[in-house]
Symmetry: C2
Subunit: 325 residues, 2 copies
């Protein structure tokens, strides 16, 4: 029987005929992680030793230490596995939570205020403006602004208005919190994926990260997958039933280049945009220069942003010609 | 053809053979509302006039005024229809919204903090305590309190902790808002239904109002309906399918008298409690003395609160006897 070398978290063991004939004990995890030198020294001493992967039954005395050290190692690995993209993902999800809560609060406030001044709910559709107006102005001022002489709502005492104002302030707070979380996302993206930020923008970029699960996953995705991230439901509907159209874009639909383009160009722009995002994510993940994004974004804008302007000009020319005729 | 008298919002008209032969015009809505005198004066003049309900075709010139005045009248009626129990209902629903939002925020915060200090999420189950601890103490202090030497979470820079603290503060705010809305509900209930408040308590009482729709509706309900308010789903399940048990209580289950009692007594106490609440709601709605509630509550507590103590004593006596043997 030949000699065997068994590498463990506690140390290196040379085993011959089930007996440990030589060993190097590691004092701590750092020794284990920088074990290269110790291994080669030991192998120099025992040149014919072969690697083995399981010699635990012969090393019973070390089992408690193995157990303890392994747990410490796992904890370290878990601690190290937290990347800043995990933080972005939490912040993006938090923004979604905040939007949901602010919406449900605003609906409740509209219901509540309708007992007092129903005309405000009817005339102001945007939640933020509705809340601001209610907090800033008195009933008289509001009625003047809405150009109504007599309101259908009842007059309420200050003590009955207080809980409504309280709720309205909470809604304002939530909108502010949402803004500061968005700012935070942009800052972190500037650090970890500047190129993706430049090409996709903060909101679309962060949502892509959430759907992909991490920057690494986004970087190794084919661009066609990036194009459809967030449209999984529509995609599987299409795969199951060919009559359902194949989706052309997922969350990237909110990107200004697509959102501002004509309906018929959406698919084409989405394809090019997804390609550019895919490239920038790869550059970010593998540590390329942080300005590649500008280049890609510029190219896209030249191809699609300006084209629209050209067609607009063409249309104008046509109109002018028609006018001339 | 005899004379007819036609009462409108604009005035009184005496009509004979399709021609208006006499009239009294109201200057404003107050005149219309105090029309008794004018009507009897006019009827004295035209003793044989009969009431008619539709003479509009003969009064075309007044149609725009009718229209205008009727709208004003309706608006007034709507304004007057708002009662303070409508305000309570909004506040109660708002508390439910706040609880929902605070819960979803707290879950998000737990997820987020788990990247930083997962042991906090594992050890502290109550959301409020979790948020307070995170805001008050540093990671070191928290680890000391949780008695852990090394955390599995990664260390984060202050700028990455800021959005988490921001969210935590929002959750604290929401809990505070909830408290102040609860206080408001109690105040309003003290005004409009002191007896119901005394018997049912603020939360159960307010929830009953929400389920009933208004104090008036709660007052005219039979007590068996009050007993099951909030358990409609279970009740209809029972009616449809006799194998499903009939529910014994709706929202009143949260009343301390039931919540603290033994399971087998729940039905009986619920029945008596619902009867007392029903009486107190009637007293409140029809303006009876505001101390009836104390009496009812005392009776209930004598019957059910103390009885339990007696049975407890009996059990103790038994135990003592057994020990003697």
């Amino acid at each position: 029987m030949t000699k065997e070398i068994f590498t463990t978290i506690c140390g290196l063991f040379i085993i011959e005929k089930d007996i440990v004939i030589d060993k190097v004990i590691f004092k701590n995890l750092a020794d284990y992680e920088n074990r290269e030198k110790a291994v080669s020294q030991l192998l120099n001493k025992h040149k014919d030793a072969k690697q083995t992967t399981n010699a635990f039954p012969r090393l019973k005395e070390y089992l408690p230490t193995f157990f303890q050290q392994n747990i410490t190692l796992t904890k370290n690995k878990i601690r190290e596995s937290v990347k800043r993209d995990d933080l972005i993902i939490q912040a993006v999800k938090n923004i979604e939570d905040i939007e949901k809560a602010a919406n449900s609060f605003a609906k409740r406030l509209r219901d509540w205020i309708s007992l007092y001044l129903p005309e405000l709910d009817e005339n102001i559709t945007k939640h933020e403006k509705f809340v601001d107006l209610f907090l800033e102005k008195s009933k008289k001022e509001l009625m003047k602004e809405l150009e109504i002489e007599k309101s259908m709502g009842t007059d309420l005492a200050e003590k009955d208005l207080k809980p409504m104002k309280n709720l309205a302030k909470k809604i304002q707070d939530l909108y502010k919190t949402k803004e500061s979380q968005e700012k935070y996302i942009e800052e972190v993206m500037q650090d970890i994926c500047p190129n993706t930020l430049q090409v996709a923008g903060p909101i679309v970029g962060a949502k892509l990260l959430v759907h992909a699960g991490s920057l690494k996953k986004l970087a190794v995705m084919p661009s066609s997958t990036v194009q459809l991230l967030g449209a999984e439901k529509a995609l599987f509907r299409h795969i199951k039933n060919k009559r359902a159209k194949c989706p052309r874009h997922g969350v990237i639909i909110n990107h200004p280049l697509i959102a501002c383009a004509k309906q018929k160009d959406h698919g084409k722009i989405a394809r090019h945009l997804a390609a550019a995002i895919s490239i920038s994510a790869k550059v970010d993940y593998f540590g390329g220069e942080p300005t590649k994004g500008y280049e890609l974004r510029e190219k896209l804008e030249k191809a699609f942003g300006k084209k629209e302007n050209i067609t607009e000009n063409k249309d104008k020319n046509k109109e002018e010609k028609q006018n001339d005729n």
